[in-house]
């Protein structure tokens, strides 16, 4: 079968991108290979691990379970968009750093994207709610405790921010 291609236009971290993609290209691979945004990690490609989580029109989704062509006309945010232009970490990244919320870092982009959206929706979560919100992101290193601590701290910082 001849590869079938589509022209797509989408916004990624506020920048408009135009590309031509094969229908079967996964959104995760498009971000990593076509756009060079390799911060979005790929662990399982069947929705189980959460490493590939990005924001699609503001909502966390698995980028390994969407096609790049489906992103036509939509707004995406990836981990590359979190820190400020001057390199200043987003409060949620700073909290992960401060609380030792990562070791190898493979799961981290997915956790950051899941939790930036979650803390907007629920700015004052309980520990239990944080654990529930993290349930779709596997981490093989940290045992989660430091991630939970980081998220509770980040929530506090974000609440205090103007």
């Amino acid at each position: 079968m001849q590869p079938e291609r589509h022209d797509i236009e989408l916004s990624v971290n506020g920048t408009t991108c135009r590309r031509t993609v094969e229908s079967r290209i996964l959104l995760s691979d498009f971000l990593r290979h076509d756009l060079g945004l390799a911060g979005t990690h790929v662990g399982c490609e069947h929705g189980a691990c959460g490493a590939c989580t990005i924001l699609f029109d503001g909502a966390p989704i698995r980028s390994c379970l969407m096609l790049a062509v489906q992103a036509n006309g939509h707004e995406l945010s990836t981990v590359e968009g979190l820190a400020g232009n001057d390199g200043e970490l987003h409060p949620i990244q700073q909290a992960m750093h401060d609380h030792h919320g990562l070791q190898c870092g493979y799961c981290t982009p997915g956790i950051l994207m899941t939790m930036t959206a979650y803390l907007k929706q629920n700015p004052q979560p309980s520990e239990h709610e944080v654990r529930e919100a993290l349930s779709g992101n596997l981490c093989r290193c940290t045992g989660y405790q430091n991630v939970v601590d980081a998220m509770l701290a980040a929530a506090q910082t974000l609440r205090a921010a103007p």
Binding site: M1, P3, E4, H6, E22, S23, R24, L26, D29, E45, H46, G47, G50, T53, F56, A59, P60, I61, R62, C64, L65, M66, L67, V69, Q70, T114, Y118, E132, A133, S135, G136
Partner: protein
């Protein structure tokens, strides 16, 4: 892994999608939330040659109520929007219990009720709820529309009554009635995993607080959702308490033939199905009392 090559077509209307499906038959698949189809394609367990993307068809999404109070959910309605619809969750409390068990928040942002029911995974919560609530499935093709009761819709492992040229467009749930309580419970290995066994119970009580009707449906214990309402015959006319519930649970255990899987032996599945049936019936009964 990556999907095999295919043609991608974004449908511009339901009619367009149905015309494409009529043209391409079983070579084509509808792409709804993609949360079952894309993983299957990534692993090359599914190799459709045409994908008809229905995500742009807003007319397929949303919850409506008919004059008779029937609750009609469009096939493309995502779990996420049902989770936030408090009126819907009040009317269909089984969903309030079950939705948090379905996968993870990121997957619930995409997955659709129509995709779930069309996929017909026997371990999924929703087919059991559809059977328990006696939902009716509205199925459309380019040449017409028909309605099928949930009891006839599910025909086996990942198999439904949807024909090659058809789409599931809407799921209709009967109107809520007073003096009814419902409860869904499941056991899964980890949060978000498919259920090892799950039970949906709907109890209706009479003016004296005795059980006048009980609907019971199970997931994860057969090749499709199991309607176990017949097991509850001994409860009718009784208060839902004590030994009589144990009898029902034993009946349920006798009715099912769980397949077993890597996480659970058939005996374990049968055991938890009985325990969950007892607990779900008791909880539904007490909720019915509060509703009265």
């Amino acid at each position: 892994m990556k999907p095999a090559p295919f043609r991608y077509i974004a449908a511009s209307s339901v009619d367009h999608a149905l015309a494409l499906k009529a043209e391409h038959g079983d070579e084509a698949r509808f792409l709804a939330g993609g949360q079952s189809l894309i993983p299957a394609m990534n692993f090359r367990l599914a190799r459709p040659s045409v994908l008809i993307d229905i995500n742009g068809l807003g007319e397929l999404a949303g919850v409506e109520r008919s004059e008779s109070g029937e609750i009609r959910i469009g096939a493309l309605t995502r779990y996420h929007s049902l989770e936030r619809d408090s009126r819907f969750l009040t009317d269909c409390p089984l969903f309030a219990d079950a939705l948090p068990h379905i996968a993870h928040p990121q997957i619930r942002n995409r997955g659709t009720i129509g995709g779930n029911l069309s996929h017909a995974d026997p371990a999924s919560e929703l087919p059991a709820i559809a059977v328990g609530m006696q939902a009716r499935m509205r199925i459309r093709s380019a040449i017409g529309e028909r309605e099928v009761p949930a009891s006839e819709f599910f025909q086996g492992l990942l198999t439904t009554d949807i024909q090659n040229d058809e789409m599931l467009v809407e799921i209709a749930f009967p109107p809520p009635t007073g003096r009814t309580g419902a409860c869904f419970m499941e056991v899964a290995r980890r949060r978000g995993d498919f259920a090892l066994a799950g039970v949906a119970a709907i109890v209706t009580i009479d003016a004296e607080g005795r059980c006048s009707q009980l609907r019971l449906a199970l997931c994860g214990v057969g090749d499709r959702a199991v309607d176990a309402s017949a097991a509850a015959a001994s409860l009718i006319g009784q208060p839902c308490a004590g030994e009589v519930i144990e009898t029902v649970a034993a009946e349920v255990q006798g009715m099912i033939d769980p397949p077993g899987n890597v996480h659970a032996s058939p005996d374990y599945q049968r055991h938890i199905a009985g325990v969950l049936a007892q607990r779900a019936i008791s909880a539904a009964f007490s909720r019915a009392g509060h509703a009265a």
